[in-house]
Each structure stands twice: as structure tokens, then as C-alpha cells.
Symmetry: C3
Subunit: 381 residues, 3 copies
Amino acid sequence: MKREELVDITSTRPGTPGGRFMRQFWLAVHRSEDLAKGHAKPIRIMSEDYTLYRGESGRAQVFAYRCPHRGAPLHLGWVEGDALRCLYHGWKFDCGGQCIEMPAEDANFARKVSAPSFPTREHMGLVFAYFGEGEPPAWPPYPAPPQEGLIHCWNVETVPCNWLQCYENTADEVHVAFVHRPGGSHAKLAADLPVISAEETDWGMLRYGTRPGGQVRHTLHYMPNTTRVIVPPLAGFDGVGGWQEIYFSFTPIDDENHLWLITSHVKVAGAEAERFLAKKAEFLEKVRQAPKVMDVVHDVWAGRRRLVDIDHPELAMVQDIAVQAGQGRIADRTKEHLGRSDAGIILWRKMLARELAAIAEGRPPKKWRVPPPDVVPIVGV
Amino acid sequence: MKREELVDITSTRPGTPGGRFMRQFWLAVHRSEDLAKGHAKPIRIMSEDYTLYRGESGRAQVFAYRCPHRGAPLHLGWVEGDALRCLYHGWKFDCGGQCIEMPAEDANFARKVSAPSFPTREHMGLVFAYFGEGEPPAWPPYPAPPQEGLIHCWNVETVPCNWLQCYENTADEVHVAFVHRPGGSHAKLAADLPVISAEETDWGMLRYGTRPGGQVRHTLHYMPNTTRVIVPPLAGFDGVGGWQEIYFSFTPIDDENHLWLITSHVKVAGAEAERFLAKKAEFLEKVRQAPKVMDVVHDVWAGRRRLVDIDHPELAMVQDIAVQAGQGRIADRTKEHLGRSDAGIILWRKMLARELAAIAEGRPPKKWRVPPPDVVPIVGV
Amino acid sequence: MKREELVDITSTRPGTPGGRFMRQFWLAVHRSEDLAKGHAKPIRIMSEDYTLYRGESGRAQVFAYRCPHRGAPLHLGWVEGDALRCLYHGWKFDCGGQCIEMPAEDANFARKVSAPSFPTREHMGLVFAYFGEGEPPAWPPYPAPPQEGLIHCWNVETVPCNWLQCYENTADEVHVAFVHRPGGSHAKLAADLPVISAEETDWGMLRYGTRPGGQVRHTLHYMPNTTRVIVPPLAGFDGVGGWQEIYFSFTPIDDENHLWLITSHVKVAGAEAERFLAKKAEFLEKVRQAPKVMDVVHDVWAGRRRLVDIDHPELAMVQDIAVQAGQGRIADRTKEHLGRSDAGIILWRKMLARELAAIAEGRPPKKWRVPPPDVVPIVGV
């Protein structure tokens, strides 16, 4: 039996090898623009609930979900400065977690009580938090491209399956020719399919897609859950923005759901940036008017509509989620028949299984480095 | 470990100590005005299903949920006089449970079959039933105020959490200053917070809220699930009706849901009563047009809306349910940090744990008396 | 204890005695007219998922649900001729299950991989499949009436309860006088109730309903899940079509849900057939405009509406599902009080329990014959 069948590489629940592994890294948990000053909201990450709020100074903070007094959800309360006050009885906590006020209690009770607070920072339009023990790893979790440009952060999607399925899909270059061309002439595309190879690096995995003409596409897979790749102009943008660098992150909500967070770096400035933003506004308006992605996916899954008949501004998202979450809430990897085109997935699983086995058996895991800024993805098509 | 951590004080499933305890009392199960003559409906109380119907004479009756023949839900059938006829094959039962007709069977079969029927009575606009063994306790379950007045029964809410959380909240006078003043100046209110104390009585618990000025508010907590308190004029009533006596009852549907039943005694008569009823009609019309309370609560829980931004005719209900059911379907009491303001809750849990331990260990429980009419709540503010 | 209490006669999960029993027969799984050429959809039968598709030649095929490569649902893909191509990486399978193309893999990999495919045929407007081992039994699963006529296949309903409850109801002639006459004078009808008797045959069960006047109605119960009976002109058809022969089939989706598939043979031809089809179009238009059957049933179950107050073009379906699925997802048969009118149900359960016990104990089950065309139902009223 292979090691990846002995260790559960999909679970990130607290205490599991995967849960302990993932808690060693900064993880993207929210889109920055979706968190207004003075607002608090609930988030669920790796099967645990948290409060996420942005203080009046602009500081984002991941905090305990429940008040230590009687368990009220803290996001119901008030943000006061960068502190948080519970709705139920007015207990107030500074952003480090210390209780600093208990209106109806003895004066010395507050200093004895605190709530967990988690290192929180922002990068390329996303809020990251660190849920592990001790000091968080180096910052930022991955480098931005060196060029001038504009950060474009996509709508965050909640996907009803284990995070690893969608992560694996980013190492599966062949799927593009089929999943994203329903009804099209895939026979022709099939002739141009890349040959996939991959190698482990000290920050994750570097994957190559070699085309029949000899061009090689380089894609970066950063540990533990982010893929950096160059993609064509976005559908619905009429070429504006050109080829972009995209960072896909897949953060577990629990073992059967995850957040799909996408930030991209568009090489535009000045008037070109204005044109891009205008296209983006148009696109977002179309999205607002369209059925929700998951509603369309559920229609497709139930057989009420055929995927090949769907027209939708976020069609690629519909296609990806339909097929990847369609593999099951947690895909049964024991029934697969993997081929040479699955080389990237095979290597990633080996690395993950090796690391989780080390954690499970108490051996020291690999020391992952922050990715160097000069290793960048290459289009290669 | 404390006794209330050894006994499960939250469960009322049949056979549990809590289930046996609660089945010793009359319990409110429905609002009288919601049950029309000749109508039958399903109710679920303490994890068991029942049929509730009102005979053509006006008599309310709690009855078995299923026909003993082949298990059809009896509320689907016909109310005939004060009897109930099953839809499936026409078996007819008198309100005491005896089968009195089986159209397609041998003549002597009916008298061999009966279905459970439960003592059922009405008081202050609510239907009460007794689910225990032997004779029910004295009637009524609690006294009405002696003054002339009008009974005003609120819309019944189904709350998605264990009954004890919302019951405990009625012993938590401090929450009012915070939960029901979102966005308001709670700092000022905090200065006026009451000091809480409580004592056990032979019918439940008497709780005192002593204000800095020396006034003392008295609130009555009747065993097992009713609180009697004097409250200010209702929101949206412009002061009409004045301070009312309110009886809150929390009846378990199952361990994770309960009915919040509220009846009140408004000291009005004649023209003043007309004005009150006109205000009530206005208020109910606003409620009908507003989003459902639980829909708003779910928006708040999911972080789609902030509680402090909500405007709703039943705002207090939204606030209460958001925070109390927000503690979890069954709150985890092992993680609490209780203070002096929780004195009422602490005493109630001790009493409950003591009684349930007695039941679990086969010792005789306390004999609770029907509350005397002359112990009444006092405003004290 | 009776044998039917020792063997679970309700479950058809793979590996259970009931699951092994049911997999010996052709089972109706879909309405033919709901499956267009070139379309694929998911179906779930006896707790297992499948792909159902109709090739471009018109051939219907039940196929594996997931691609053997990486588990993508095959119904998301393309029907090409009578073959099926997976959306994820373009693997193509012929209708027998052999993989015949893998665009991104080595040329010799495809012939090593296949997916399960199941014998599939069509009869009287329904798609049947065989899920057992070895060769399927004789075809067709039951005879059509010999007369000229028109096949009328009803809308298929998904019923949220175990299949056996609704099947048993077809052996329960007495229910008609009550379930389908709410608000009517059932006292009068009760006087005419039939006396029920039944006998086992080599293809199932023949059941008799003897009326006080001496007429006898014959109903055929074909193993394992189909009942053939003559019924009055359909509600809403104004007598057009006359008395029809109806075949009810109840195919398990899983143990708590089933498909109710109804096909009927209407003895009309020429102008009379045209009139029938016009009435049918009118009726279907009314159904399209009416609330969904299950929405009405849920209103009734929750007590929001009384069954006796409902007006609906598919009222009989609403009534049947309300009472039969109202018995519970899987009815608790241990609490029943059966009478002489339940003779058909009692015999059927005995037969089923005997067969399932034989399977469980490794004894040879009865060899069921295909029903002879000359044993036909008789109206008898």
C-alpha cells in the first residue's frame, strides 16, 4: 500500500497530521475588500470557528469565535477602536485577546480572562492568518511579481468539497482542454496536449507542461495550498489586462468545504489600468445579474441542465466546481487509474504524504523556505 | 467536578433524567388562538411527536401522533365532534384514546385498540399538556395576576437551540443593557447595572436585581420552564398598555430546538383595551410585512448583515435569538467563565442538577408547590 | 417473533438480502420520454449512483457514475454516437464500458481500463435496467395488455420514504375509500368496502377485493415491485380514456426514497386517442401551474394546511404521499395492529421475508416466472 493511502492527506481537522501540517503556514482566509472597518464576521477555517474583524485603524484581526464568558459569538458585538466588545454582557477584549473591561463584574476579574487571538496580515488583497504554535513563518507567504501592476482579487467562492481536490486540479494542466471547452472541438486540442513533469523544490513543486512544439510552461506550486500560474486574458474582458499572473489558494473551511481565493497581478498602469477597471466593473455587474455559481452547479449535478448548455459569466468556475466537487465531498482516491498526465498530482501527493507521515510518527518535517522572488512562472504556449 | 457537569441538565429526551423531570409538570405547547375548532396539527415536544386537535366542542386535546393501525399521522384525518378519525382507513378514536370505529374490520376489533391521549387544558391563552405518569399536578400551572386586564399572547417562535439557554437568559438581567441596545451608549447603562442575587423557593426561584439607587426588581422563576417578570411598554406600542406582566415559557421541541411561548397580562380595560388592541393589530401587520425573525438571525449569524444595523418590528426577539441560539445548538457550559452577575443562572443550574441527580439515582425529588398568587414580580426600576 | 421482523424487508442496499433479492429483476429506472438523444444524467438506484444516457442512435444505457480515471461524474461529459466521453480528461467509453480513447495517455493504457455498464431496455414508456450478476431474466418484465391502445406514462414522482410502504399501499384497496375522499361521505362508502383476500402465484400475488354485491376485483402484484390494476378514468380527464390498465412501479433510490413510476395502457385509438392526448396536454398544463406535489405535502405534514382543504390537479398523489411517506421514512412495522383488511399486505410481507431469509441463509430462492399475458386484472366494481 502506498504511503498516501496510509496517511489521510485530505483532513485538516485539529490534531490530525494534515491539520498540524497546514497550521505551520500562513493561510489566506478572506478577501481584504470584503472586510470593512468596524465590521466583524464569522469565519470557519480547518473545522474551527473564528471571528474576523477590522478595527477602526484598518487592522484586520482573526480572533476567538466565542466570548469566554458564556459563549456568545463575538462577531455579534461592537468593534471599538481595534478592540472587540461582546454583545451579550459587554466584555471588551483588546486585539491581542486580553479582556480589558467587564461592566457587571468585579474590577479584578477582567485581567484574569483572555481569548485566543491569531497573527493576521494582508498581502495582495487577501487576509492571511497563522493558526499554529509559536512564531509564524516569514512574511509574505509568497512573493508578488516584481513588475508594476494592479492587484485584482476575484470573488471568493465557497466550494463544497475537500480543498485538495481543487488544489490538485491546478497541477492538472490537461483538464483545461476538456473541462473548459465543452461542446468545442476537443479532438483538435487533444493533439496539442502538454506532456507533464514536475520536481520538488525547497518551497514546493515546480511543474512543467511541454507542448509538442517544444515550448514549456512553468507553474509554481507553493506549499501548502497556493499555485502561481500565468493565464490568458479573462473571459469577458475582451483581452484587456492581457496575460495575468494568478495565485490560486484553497483554504479548508472543514474537510468537506473550502474557500477558493484568487488574487492576480495584472500588468497594467495608467489609462490601461482604467480600462481594466471599467471592464471589471462591467463583468461584476454581469455576475451580479447571473444565477449564483453553486445554483448552476447543483442544476448540473442533478441532471436538470447539461453543463455543455450553460452560458454564464463565470463559466470556468461553474465547470471547475462541477467536475472537481463532483468527484465527491472527499474524492475516493483508492479507485483512481492515474496515468502519465497525472505526474504533477502524483508528486504532490507523495510530498504531502511524506510530510504527514513524518508528523504522525514524530519525525522532523521538511523545513520549507519562503519562495524566492526570482523563480517565476513561464507562459510557454 | 460540579454536579451540573455530571448530570446532563439540557436533555429532555424520554428516559433521560431531564426528560423524566420535565414530564412531572404541565407544559405549554401551543398558543390557543392558533388552534381552530375542527383542526388537527402535528406538534413535537421533548423529542416526541403528538397530534394536537381542537374538537368541535372547543376542547383542545393532545393525542398520539400515529394511528395504531399502520402508523399514519393522525393529524391528516378528520375531527368529528371531539373524536378523531384516521385518514388512512377511517379508524375513529374518542378523545380519551379509545378506538370506537373500524369500518373495514371485524366488529369486536375496535374495542381492543386504543391510542395514547394526554391531559390537556388552557390557561392565559396557552394550551398546556401533561406528559407524565399518573395524575397531573394541580391546575393552573401558575397564577394569573389578580387585577383586571387583557391577555395578550405573542407570536410563538421556534428557536434553534436547547431550551435551557433561553430560559437561563431570563435569569440574566444584565444582558438587557447590552443585547437590546446595539449601537446605543451602553457605557452609560453599564453604570446602572443591577447586582444580582437569587434564592430557592418551594415553587422555583426568586431573583433580585438591585440597582445602584437601592431599588430592587423581583423576578419569579417557576419550575420548570416559566419566568414571570414585569417589563416596559412593548416596542412599537407607543406606551399603550403600560408596564405588563409577562410569562415566558420555553418548551423543548427536542434537545436542539424549543418553542418560545409568551403570554402577558396587560392592565387595561374599556377604551384603553380598545386602543391596545388597535396598536396590536398595527404591530402584527408590521410583523407580517417584515422578514421572518429566523431569516434575519441567519443573515446575522452568517455575517451577511450586522446585528447593530438591523431594523425590525421584533428586534428584541432577533437580538435574543441571535445571541442565545448563537451560543450553539447546545451551549458548551464547560468553557464558561461565570461571574457574580451570573448568580441567578448558577443557582438555577444547581437546583436543576440536584433534582436530576436525585432522579438518576432513584432518590425522591423535591415536591414543588404550585406558586402562591400573592408572590408577584416587582418592577424595581 | 415473525420472520418478517427478523429479516429487514425494506433495505435494498448492496449486500443486504433485500438488495440481493431486488437485483435479480429488471427494474424501471426512468421515463423514456424524459431522456433525450445525446443527453446524460445521474440516477441513483438502491443506494448506488449511475449515469443514464441515450446515445445518438436512440439507445438508452445505464453506466457507471464515475470515470475510472479520477472519479469525475460521467454525466457531465459528452455523448458521442452511443459512446460517452468524460468531461475531465476526455476519456471515451463505448456503451459496453470499454475505454476506447485517452487523449493524454500512452496508446496502450485505454484497453486496460473499463467501467461498469448495465443491461438496459425499454418497455411501455419506461427504461428498465438489470443490476444483478450474470444474464438478466426474460424480457419484458411484464406483459402489456393485448388490446390496441395508447401508452400514457405519468410524471415520475420522487417519494421521500422507503419503497415498500407505497408498494404495500397498492395491496390496500380499502384506503381508497378514505384517503381519496377527504371531506366526502366516507360513512356511505364504508358500507361498500371490499373484503380482501390474496394468493401467491409463480409470478407474484393475485389479490381479490370482494364487494358486498358479489363482484370481485382482481389485482396483479408482479415480483418484485410492480402492481397492475384497472382504475377509473383519470381525475381531470372528464371520462376521456375510460377505465385504464395501470402499472405502478416503486423503485428504491435508497432506503429512504424511491421513484414512483406509472405507465398505463389506455384503450383508445384514432379520434378518441386524439381527444385523450388533448385532455392530457390540458392536464399537464394545469400541473405545471400548480404547486409541486411535495411542497404541498410538506405544508400538510407541518400542519400549515389541512389535507382536507387541498385542491390540486394531482390531488390523489398528494393524498397518497402524505399518508404513506407520512408513516415515516421507514415505517415502524413493529407497532402496527393489522386486521383482516390487510390480508394482501400480510401475504406479500410473508413472501418477501421468506425469500430474503433464503438469500440470507444461502438457500435457493423461489424461481419467479415472467407473468403470463393471459392473467389480467379485472375491474369487479
